[in-house]
Symmetry: C2
């Protein structure tokens, strides 16, 4: 049986292109002692993957040239010589952009397909959900009655940030691209307002949506939106730096926030987060999130695209803002 | 008797020029009931004054056109019909750039010329000292053994930040302009290293001076130096944004820190401070600082220039980096 894999062929300059990838096929290996083989059914597509393609010091090693591209995945154990995993178990792990993975089980954990559909373990119940949960609650520290603004609001992290902020009693304003996403945030997810950053009067709309200023800003995009928000923050505001998708494909230097001195004027704070730091508390968070899902307070939104070979184009949907909710690539096995 | 005053005549574009000021002279008024007249002996010159000259929302109202320029001052009570102040008392207050001030005593407090020379109440025992104390200790939270870097290190705030960090057991690296200042920081103030930002190999020198990276950065300058420091911060670093003197006279937009995503990679924090927030704790801080001064652990460095009429040029020494220690204008009364 063949295993197709996407390898990183070269490092992108700007937006990833077809040339940065090589699609190869190998025989699916047999597990050795202590190993297992997972059939990957869903691959998580995340903005952070763009950073992993760079040859730069970061919170995690870059993916090496010629290596299988790193990605979060869920799948089903296909063969096992590892006592912790049986054939048929559903598992989550960073198994990469491939159809099958041979693994020793390190970093893997089981998920329960009867509690939630498998793609959800890549979204609300996976890294994006954990990122939203810990980034908002631990670093953003929203208090009831405060105004929380989130950018990339219709994305995997943003949808969860906004909903948790609502659960905590905040006024929630989402920033997203296009009227469909804004309508969804307001009508389906209960955001108090959603503002379209592509609108001509975006700045005025944001101001109107935040009549009491901004106490917490959860930033997934960076660039001009971060700069605009900085002009509207309140005293002792907290800005959570989760990402900067507007800057990831830059071929020019990153645009730093020109208005950062608003931090001084407002005695405000800007702080970066990396979800992995909270690994030991994932279980507790996932349990609380599952409870909110069950109560209907938290809604999951997945955007599933099919076809393993489409990985390069589907990944790039993140950078054009085409995805709506958690972007997942589904692999259809014969 | 005449009172000369510097009024703000127009708002500067870029560096303040002679045209932005008007020098006027009026009869010194008699105090009414509850009022007093202070003879101003020393005027504090601070980078923050540049911000007060702009017509922009900030942590404090701008100085109005035609108003006496705001400044911290120390002087001697000359006449009093206020029961809290007697002729001869030495006082501190924001009495502005003038030779005499009529005041109702609000915001004024007495200082003791037998404990410290009067200009010291504008430096180590005044706002710059308080800024250093609270900004470093409350926001920077330095731990013994950590590396603390301070820019504008030979200035009023920087000299105190570095010395307090030494008292707290940190490795202290100062960034200053020119070999004289660097030598002073290392040899007189006990900094572990001082790096000249004007040197061609500044970046390499800073790296060499911080072999274990940077845990706390106390920033008085902004611009390229902030960006460089961001490339060298450690995980969970704290960046205290106290000022950005490199940007205050910009006629182009402020240079935001292009490397701000280092905050994300390092889960680090950047936080602004305004000294006035700590007003209720000034007394406690001043007592601790006075103790350190008495023990010789903390040295004061004042840079005193004479001549009231020289105010515009002396103020600008802050922006060319000509001052060395706390910059004070002394008024010589006949």
């Amino acid at each position: 049986m063949q295993n197709r894999q996407y390898l990183l062929a070269s490092r992108p300059v700007g937006k990833p292109t077809a040339e940065n990838w090589s699609l190869v096929s190998n025989e699916v290996p047999e597990p050795g002692e202590g190993e297992l083989v997972v059939r990957i059914d869903y691959i998580s597509l995340d903005p952070a993957m763009r950073g992993w393609m760079n040859d730069a010091r970061s919170y995690i090693e870059p993916v090496g040239i010629g290596e299988v591209m790193r990605a979060g995945t869920v799948g089903i154990v296909q063969a096992s010589r590892n006592p912790d995993y049986a054939v048929g178990d559903a598992v989550y792990g960073h198994l990469g952009v491939q159809e099958y993975a041979l693994t020793d089980g390190k970093g893997l954990h089981k998920v329960d397909p009867s509690l939630a559909p498998l793609p959800r373990y890549l979204g609300v119940l996976g890294m994006p959900g954990m990122t939203a949960y810990f980034g908002l609650l631990n670093t953003g520290q929203p208090q009831a009655g405060e105004t929380v603004v989130v950018s990339g609001a219709a994305g995997a992290v943003g949808t969860v940030v906004g909903q948790i902020a609502k659960i905590k009693g905040c006024r929630v304003v989402g920033i997203a691209g296009g009227p469909d996403k804004c309508r969804y945030l307001e009508q389906e997810l209960g955001f108090d307002a959603a503002v379209d950053y592509r609108a001509d009067d975006f700045a005025a709309q944001l101001k109107a949506a935040c009549p009491k200023g901004i106490d917490v800003y959860f930033d997934n995009v960076g660039g001009d939106i971060l700069d605009l928000v900085l002009t509207r923050i309140n005293v002792r505001a907290r800005i959570v730096i989760c990402g900067a998708i507007s800057q990831y494909n830059n071929t020019t230097p990153v645009k730093g926030p020109s208005n950062y001195l608003s931090l001084l004027v407002n005695r405000a704070r800007m702080e970066g987060i990396v979800v992995f730091d909270n690994a030991k508390n994932y279980g507790k968070a996932a349990a609380e999130m599952a409870g909110w899902l069950a109560e209907g307070k938290l809604k999951a939104k997945e955007h599933i695209e099919k076809g393993f070979e489409r990985f390069p184009e589907v990944l790039n949907m993140l950078f054009t803002g085409e995805n709506f909710g958690k972007l997942v690539l589904e692999i259809e096995h014969d």
